[in-house]
């Protein structure tokens, strides 16, 4: 009667919890390697520079990339909820 039936859901729940949280190793990685997610591929855009020239990314290139990657107005807290004029 005291088989694993009762323990399995608990183990499953524990696994789900673990999957949803960072391990201490991941947390340490984030702290010690602060550039890990913000690579030079921050923005996906094509280089328009001529072959042989040193590539140059301008502010306008980044604006264009931002517009291309725009998925629509985000769901976020409205400023009026936080601040008054």
């Amino acid at each position: 009667m005291r088989g694993t039936g009762g323990r399995l859901p608990l183990a499953g729940a524990a696994l789900l919890l673990m999957a949803g949280c960072a391990t201490s190793e991941e947390w340490t990685t984030w702290k010690e390697n602060p550039a890990h997610f913000a690579s030079g591929d921050h923005f996906k855009f094509s280089m328009k520079n001529a072959p042989g020239s040193s590539p140059r990314v301008s502010r306008e290139d980044l604006e264009a990339a931002r517009a291309q990657n725009w998925w629509g107005r985000p769901i976020t807290v409205r400023q009026e909820e936080l601040l008054e004029r």
């Binding site: 550039a35 921050h42 140059r56 400023q79």
Partner: protein, 231 residues
């Protein structure tokens, strides 16, 4: 002679057009006439050049950050007691970054701590470049609002942002800027409100640490406009 003048005028106009194209939009700053109190209008008029410099600095030197419209100004935090007209110099930014499994694996509070550590101190230093702001008697505090895409958002779908709104009174910021308080102390003394999309999560307890990412990171091959110096 007239041809020379024409050439010079053309060159000058091209320079003006070029610099205009590269300039940040001033609509990121709340216009003076939009404030509801004289105290705020006084601050906005007095520190207009400082707000423009803050806007321009982020635009040119931290181009992966987006400042939404009317997100820089002397606002009144809603969570503070009314009807006192507390005025905080506030900056809201949205952080664009690539998806990262490591970042996604963190819990929301840990992501909030990571973003706080990376951006709040650096933004406060930019916001207080005009040192007079730290001792300005009309100013009650500072707030930095950070947003980023929730890791579960999918490309092609309307993104959900996670947001933290950080509020600290002026003495706290003065201590931090002067080096009398660490970023950890700042996190302990500040009010940090969290949001999952539009859903308020209440006050978050932040664990902060020193993060020098902004001092070292550059977008590959990115060159600020000529004449712009980034520190």
């Amino acid at each position: 002679m007239s041809a020379r003048l024409l050439t010079a005028a053309l060159a000058l106009s091209l320079m003006i057009v070029g610099s205009a194209l590269a300039a940040p939009s001033e609509d990121r700053i709340l216009p003076v006439d939009q404030y509801t109190s004289q105290k705020a209008r006084t601050l906005a008029q007095k520190y207009a050049p400082a707000l423009r410099a803050l806007n321009a600095g982020i635009y040119h030197c931290l181009p992966w950050l987006d400042v939404p419209k009317q997100s820089i100004g002397f606002f009144r935090p809603k969570h503070l007691a009314q009807p006192q007209d507390y005025r905080y110099l506030s900056l809201r930014i949205y952080i664009e970054q690539e998806t990262s499994p490591q970042f996604a694996a963190l819990g929301l509070k840990e992501r909030a701590s990571a973003m706080f550590s990376r951006y709040v101190g650096a933004m406060l230093r930019r916001m207080t470049e005009r040192a007079e702001l730290v001792t300005e008697p009309l100013l009650d505090g500072f707030s930095v609002i950070l947003g980023w895409v929730k890791p579960t958002s999918q490309p092609g779908e309307r993104p959900v942002h996670e947001t933290i709104a950080v509020f600290a009174d002026r003495p706290t910021i003065a201590d931090y800027i002067a080096g009398r308080a660490s970023i950890r102390d700042l996190a302990g003394r500040a009010v940090v409100l969290g949001y999952d999309g539009e859903t308020p999560l209440g006050r978050l307890k932040i664990q902060a640490w020193e993060d020098n990412f902004l001092k070292t990171f550059q977008i590959a091959n990115y060159k600020p406009e000529p004449g712009v110096t980034c520190r």
